[in-house]
Symmetry: C2
Subunit: 325 residues, 2 copies
């Protein structure tokens, strides 16, 4: 199955309480594609984005080795790649943005080449909702699933556009703060249901609310699934964790090519796994060289830490079962 | 099996964005005992605390109907019961304390009568750590499990006493903010392990970190269990939710009288169930009239929303399984 990812390609300078990395590889499309690649064959993955001439060779090599179709990545001559610099605080949950230089990303107009314009699965990374809409209009055939991300900036600044985009997508991945901002309700359960109503009606209306260290909530039709977080003792660099989550999730769905509840639940758990690996090294390093065995072992660990059994000999509700009271 | 609960007995005036209740029943021992009673027989439950002559008849009736042994509840003549008034904000996660009148609770010196001084299970509700220690010293026989609660006030104001108490208990139930304050580490996984080290060495060192709407983490020996929260759409009054959690947990353990990992996991889930019922009505009303069937149904719902299966036909790690890549 084919997967198209539209999003940012960036260069990040990251400071944490533990270390600093200058001009590391970043961007939502980068993390999503690298994470998704563990499930989909690289040859099935296309990227649409824009970079300057300074986009690191390391990145091109990574993409090429995996066989990504980068014909949709525009290289602006003499241009500079989107640059972000940030510093994480001691608790790793808060960060200061030290610099945001949009550079070539400021005038980004996604152009989807024919080779990748009929994907089975389409990911709209966190870009302007109007551009997300534009990408949908460039599809030559209706994807089986369109999944999108967004952020506070668009929720407050481009809400009308965002609502139009949401009405055309089948799935939304969003964090808890953004969900509350968009719905204006403190309850994440209420938020999840309201967000579902914003999505395309002819779909399972999949909403995933990411809660960082607290895991994620999946809303699928009328079902709710509560996914645990992977219990990391130490977070080394959380940059890209959300996009790695998206990559693991959509990679798994693309691979299995079914949008059934059980599959989507597993996809959310694999998203959690990729996000956890992302946090354990700087930049994309945590998701560059994993074995499927490492990934699967964390999936099983998550299953193990979240499972509990009923009393084995229970057959009836407690107050009806003789001898138990 | 017998269960002794030491804690506050109080009168609360509660304001929420939805409603207000004057002089409702409150206090940690109240919530814990009412929640625990669904699992243990009331006749096995003893309460140690102090009240004034104004302690509501409604409360005495509740306790009497359930058969609690209240010989350890001191009634101070002419005294007034511990009074708390608070107002919850729109998001229900924050509240303002409008009044705290300790009254007879200010001079509380727990006296454990012989009829309840040999419990199998002992709960030390949130009182001064020095009083918790004193209660332990009044035990005529070593309980099978001592479980305690604490709060910010004691962590910052009576840390040495608290550490002494912790070194004598087998289990601690604490919320995430308190855990981070006591351990001084942002990672709840690290907090859990460090808290375990503070507990009595000859035990399973059970630590439960409550995360409110995000569920709870259980640390048991070297195991971690991540329990989901019950997905409530609306929180009516969160007062007593933490104590109801404790009550459900210890009630279940007392009933099954085993401290094995699988049992403790279920106990944490039943704690979650009782906390969820507590939040759906004012004061103790949400946990006064439940059927075991209602409780069990929520247990099953929690099992359902948190469970996920591996691919049914998987037998080996992903990269070894022919035909899947």
């Amino acid at each position: 199955m084919s997967l198209l990812i539209v999003g940012s390609l960036a260069v990040d300078t990251i400071e944490t309480p533990f270390d600093k990395r200058e001009r590391a590889l970043g961007g939502s499309a980068t993390y999503i594609s690298l994470a998704a690649n563990y499930f989909s064959h690289g040859s099935e993955i296309g990227i649409v984005g824009v970079v300057g001439e300074d986009f690191p060779n390391h990145a091109w090599n990574l993409f090429q080795k995996r066989g990504f179709d980068t014909s949709g990545v525009e290289i602006v001559k003499g241009g500079k790649t989107f640059f972000w610099a940030g510093r994480y605080h001691y608790d790793m949950n808060t960060r200061d943005t030290l610099a945001t230089e949009l550079n070539v990303f400021a005038d980004f107009k996604p152009k989807v080449p024919a080779s990748v314009a009929s994907p089975d699965y389409l990911v709209l990374g966190n870009i302007a909702p109007s551009l997300q809409l534009d990408v949908i209009s460039q599809m030559k055939a209706k994807p089986k699933l369109i999944i999108c991300d967004t952020m506070n900036f668009w929720i407050t600044g481009a809400k009308d556009d965002l609502m139009k985009t949401l009405s055309k997508v089948n799935a939304l991945v969003i964090n808890d703060g953004e969900a509350r901002l968009l719905v204006d309700n403190p309850s994440l359960v209420v938020c999840g249901h309201r967000l579902q109503e914003m999505l395309a009606p002819d779909s399972h209306r999949i909403v995933v609310i990411k809660k960082g260290e607290h895991g994620a909530l999946l809303f699928y039709n009328k079902y709710i699934f509560s996914a645990p977080a992977y219990p990391l003792e130490e977070i080394f660099d959380p940059t890209g964790a959300g996009d790695s989550f998206m990559g693991g999730l959509i990679g798994y769905l693309t691979r299995w090519d079914t949008i059934q509840y059980a599959t989507v639940k597993r996809a959310v758990v694999y998203g959690t796994v990729l996000a956890s690996f992302c946090c354990s090294k700087f930049s994309t390093e945590g998701i560059e060289d994993l074995s499927m065995d490492q990934i699967y072992r964390r999936f099983r660990e998550l299953q193990s830490i979240s499972s509990f059994e009923d009393e084995p000999y229970r057959t009836k509700p407690m107050d009806e079962s003789a001898g138990l009271m």
